[in-house]
Each structure stands twice: as C-alpha cells, then as structure tokens.
C-alpha cells in the first residue's frame, strides 16, 4: 500500500514534470530537424507529417551550396577561432597576474572587470559602428574579432584566475629553480595543468561568438561576410522564405555549438558555481 503511494508520488512529482520539461526542451529542435528532412511539397502538406514519410537531404545540399551557408559557416569559423585564440592567450596572462601577484591597482582592475558585466551590449552598437567605420573595418571579420574579445576577456580573466589559483605555486617555483624563466615555467608547467580550464574558457568563448547576432548585424553589410546568425536572420526576412533550406541551415549552425556544449557542460555547472558565488 505505502509502496504504491510512494511510486505514485514519484510519478506525479518527478517523472511527469521531468518528462514535460524535457519534451518542451526537445520538441522545437526535433521539429526543425523533421522540417529539414522534408521535401518542399511535404512541408506544406496537410495533415502535417510528424515523421517525414519520404526523408530527403536535398534541403541540406541546397542550404550549403545555393543559399550561402558554406560561406556563413566559414565566416563564423574564422571569427570564432580567432577570437578564441586571442581570448585564451590574453586572459591566461591577466588571470596569471591576478592569481600570482600582489600589485598596486589590482583591486581597481578587478572592479573594472566587474563593471564591464553591467554594460548593456545594445549600448555599444552605435559607437562601435562609428569606430569601425572610421577604421575602415566594416564588413571585416577583424571588427567582430576585436569586439568579441573585448566583451569576453573580463569574464574569462576571472575564470582563468580561478583555474590558475588551483595550480600549486611550488610547481613553477621548482621549474624556475631548475633554470626555466617565468614564461617557460608558464608554458611547460602551468599550461598543461590548466588545459581543462582553458578548454572550458575556449568553449564558452566560441559558443558566444558563434551565436552573437546584434553586433554582427551592425558591423557587417556585405552578404559574403555574414556570420551564421546574420545569414539566418537575412534568410528569415526574405520575401519568399525557403523553409526547408532555412531549417537545414539551422541544423548546420546548431551542430558545432551543441557538440562543444555537450562536451563542456559538466565544467559549466562547476565553473558557474564558482563564478556566481565568487
């Protein structure tokens, strides 16, 4: 008797809500994938097919070759990888300084990093446009790379500071004793131990650049330089929307972010805990 009540409780208060939440999460992704796998005629057919009866990859071919997703993908990749490289190097250096040294202005620097978190991103689009127009860098990936790096570095610096503080100081002191200079000690002793932290930082940064829309929209006005979000948005706004190709393009844009995220999400739960509390 009691056991069956316990089971009922578990179903009502655990399995049922969990199933509902997961269905709510998964369904939009499922529906996009199914739309991408249907031919143009099947997408509009009534009654709706919840599982395509004649699945096809023609939308993916179309999106990649004819609509421009190959270009958007390449542009997003260039911006993402370059930003990650800059952010990882610079935030490792500044995180190292914060973690290993006491110096005048350290508190001010930390305060400055904190302040950046409260800067509304939408405030920046007009002045950034003016700055990069004057520099002649509109529609140049460099403008996005610099801006994204500036936006990400404050957070990743704090993140790296935490990761570096976890590496025992004695290890690099021993290396310096053995004749390494400081940069060599960082390169050969600290860096390998930091690798998991660096991967988390890199994934964070990459997903941000991969997904950012408003700044990319503002700083790009040539279709050949669009990143994926700008390209998707452009396609959505067209008069005759090709829904199949749009859905396929979305799935293409989705895959790298989701793979990286699934890989790093454990670090995220741990890292977030530290970041939010600290």
């Amino acid at each position: 008797m009691q056991n069956s009540k316990k089971n009922k409780d578990k179903i009502l208060f655990f399995y049922l809500p969990l199933t509902l939440m997961i269905s709510f999460t998964v369904f939009p992704i499922y529906w996009t994938l199914m739309t991408a796998l249907k031919s143009e005629g099947d997408i509009l057919k009534r009654p709706l097919e919840y599982v395509p009866l004649a699945p096809t990859l023609e939308n993916f071919v179309m999106a990649w070759n004819n609509v421009g997703f190959a270009t958007y993908f390449k542009n997003s990749l260039i911006v993402g990888v370059s930003t990650v490289l800059i952010v990882v190097v610079l935030s490792t250096l500044s995180g190292y300084a914060l973690s290993r040294y006491k110096f005048k202005g350290k508190r001010s620097f930390l305060l400055m990093l904190l302040c950046t978190q409260f800067i509304p991103r939408s405030m920046m689009i007009i002045p950034l446009f003016v700055i990069f127009k004057n520099l002649g860098l509109i529609s140049n990936p460099l403008s996005l790379i610099i801006t994204y790096a500036a936006i990400e570095i404050p957070f990743t610096t704090v993140l790296m500071n935490g990761f570096i503080s976890n590496v025992p100081r004695e290890l690099e002191e021993a290396a310096m004793m053995d004749g390494c200079n400081r940069l060599q000690a960082i390169r050969f002793v600290v860096f390998p131990l930091l690798l998991p932290g660096i991967v988390a930082t890199a994934v964070f940064t990459f997903i941000y650049t991969w997904n950012e829309f408003l700044i990319a929209l503002m700083l790009t006005n040539q279709q050949s330089k669009f990143t994926l979000p700008v390209g998707l948005s452009y396609m959505m706004g067209e008069f005759n929307v090709n829904y199949g190709a749009l859905a396929a393009g979305s799935i293409i844009a989705l895959i790298p972010a989701v793979i990286l995220f699934s890989y790093a999400q454990k670090h995220l739960v741990n890292g977030m805990g530290g970041a939010v509390k600290g």
Partner: protein, 315 residues
C-alpha cells in the same frame, strides 16, 4: 655574466644587485601581463560607451553629416515630451523583463530540483535539458517561427487536433498573441541558464542540513522553504539581476520573430534603439535613447541590490 669584469663595483656582493635588478623587473611583470587585456577592454568597451554620452548631445546623422552640430539637451527633451514610442516601449521592456525573468526563474528552479535527484541516465538527461543554453537567439527564432507559422506550423496543427482552435492562427502577426508568443520562445531558451546556476548552488548545500530537518520531522516542502531557499538566496539575487540586465538588452528574438511589430506591440526600449541603429541613421537620437536606457538600468541595479541586502549577507 658581464659582472665578471666589474672590478670597481661599489657593492660587495655582485649577486645582490642582480637580484635587486631582477626584483625590479618582477614588479613590472603583472602590469605587463594585464596590459593587453586592459588596452582592449578600455578601447573597445569603455571608450565606445563614453562616446555614446558625447553623441547624445550632438545632432549626428551619418546619412547627412553636413547637418551635424551640437544639440545640447534637445534629444532628451524630445524623448520625454514628443516621442510617442518612448513610454510604450519602456512599458513593453518592463513586461518583457518581468515575464522573462519570472518564468525562467520558476521553471529553471523546478528543472534544477528535478535534475538534482538521483535517477538513471541523469548525466545524459542533464546534457539534453541544458541544450537550449547553447542555441543562439536567431536559431531559436527560426525554430519557433517554423512552429508558429500560420500555414505549416505545428502549433496550429496540435491545437486544432485538440479542438482548442478551429482555424489556423497567425500567432506572431496578431497584436493580442505576438508578445506572449515571443515570450514563450525566449523562456524556452532561458530556462537552462537558471537551471545550471541553481543546480550548481543546490549541489553545494550540505546534506547534513536536510538530515537534521528530517530528524525534526520536516517534510519536503518545509525543508525547501527553510533550508533550500535561504541557501540559494545569494545565487537567486545575483542571477536574477544579471538576467534582468541581459533580457532587457536582448533583442534577438524580438528582432527576428516580430521585428517589434505588429503595431509596435513588441517594441521594447532596446528593440527601439536597435531599430534606430540598424535601419535609421540618426545616431545622435539613438545615442540619447541609449543613455536614458542606461540610466534606467543603472538605477534599477542599485535599488535591487540595496533592497535585497545582497552585500550585507553576501559571503
């Protein structure tokens, strides 16, 4: 190395000067290390923000640069007295932020509590539940626009099958449903942020607290109110504040799903600014709007932190 030939060095111990020299160098190392980050942050975050304040006092139109001149407070006067869109947009921003942060917090909390239980395939279920966190606003817009679509949308199909509606609706071009439509799509994307941060905080609550409560005969609900919530307070205050600022600024879904329409029913203040910046060329006025928006957010953040006594109780 060169010390070898230094006969007339006044110091007895040559290695000491070397050490002192090295220490002097060491003093500069932290500054050297933070310099690149500092420069990039100042040049591309703080400097642009500074120029917004400058432009807000100028007539500054990139399509008609010959009219550019000092404007004084003209833009601000116009915002508060003549602009028919300002107050409705501010009200929409308020609706947007309250519904987003409220719903995301409640649903995120439920999800975090569920995922904190032990069950089979927990790791996998967690990964799946967090996926929307990695999905961009534009992608979410595409996904939900496919579902809301009047002709091929699955939402119309499901509701008609259930007999709730009899004819297909154009959810996003109807002034009564457009706003709530975008809200649902953005909530979908925002739940994992709260679920992730709250789950992290839940995991740091010591198990003994719950055991003690169980000994005292407290049920699940009671121990949630008296143990879990107080322990999560700082996380909730901080995440809701960050999320408020974030959602206030977030226009990705509004821009792509409704474009602020129909009839400006989904135009928030930030959407208004984005429209001015992307489609218009009157940067002076857009900057003034930005400054006002910044002021509102700043005021809110201070009041919020004071009211929630975050600092005093923060560890």
């Amino acid at each position: 190395m060169h010390v070898q030939g230094d006969v007339d060095l006044p110091v007895k111990n040559p290695s000491k000067t070397k050490k002192m020299k090295k220490r002097k160098m060491e003093k500069w190392i932290p500054y050297l290390f933070i310099l690149p980050s500092f420069l990039i942050i100042v040049s591309f975050l703080f400097y642009p923000i500074g120029t917004v304040f400058y432009y807000s006092l100028q007539y500054y139109d990139i399509s008609a640069p010959y009219y550019n001149k000092f404007a004084g407070l003209d833009h601000f006067k116009r915002i508060f007295t003549e602009d028919d869109l300002f107050l409705p947009s501010l009200f929409n921003s308020f609706k947007w932020v309250v519904s987003q942060v409220g719903l995301q917090l409640i649903l995120g909390m439920i999800l975090a509590l569920l995922l904190n239980q032990t069950f089979k395939f927990r790791g996998f279920v967690r990964a799946v539940a967090f996926i929307p966190w990695a999905i961009s606003g534009v992608l979410a817009s595409v996904m939900w626009s496919l579902m809301y679509n009047e002709h091929m949308g699955v939402i119309n199909d499901l509701l008609m099958r259930m007999g709730i509606i009899s004819t297909p609706q154009a959810w996003l071009s109807d002034t009564t449903t457009a706003f709530i439509g975008v809200v649902i799509a953005e909530v979908w994307r925002g739940i994992p942020f709260f679920a992730i941060t709250l789950l992290a905080a839940l995991q740091s609550i010591p198990e003994e607290l719950y055991e003690a409560a169980r000994v005292d005969g407290a049920g699940r609900w009671k121990s949630y109110i008296h143990i879990t919530l107080p322990q999560l307070k700082n996380t909730i205050v901080l995440t809701t504040l960050l999320r408020t600022i974030w959602e206030f600024n977030n226009v990705d879904l509004l821009f792509n799903l409704t474009g602020g329409g129909p009839a400006h029913s989904t135009t928030t203040l930030t959407m208004y600014i984005a429209e001015q910046a992307v489609h218009g060329s009157n940067f002076g006025y857009g900057s003034a709007l930005t400054v006002v928006t910044f002021g509102i957010l700043f005021l809110f953040a201070i009041i919020y932190l004071k009211a929630s006594r975050f600092e005093r109780e923060g560890d």
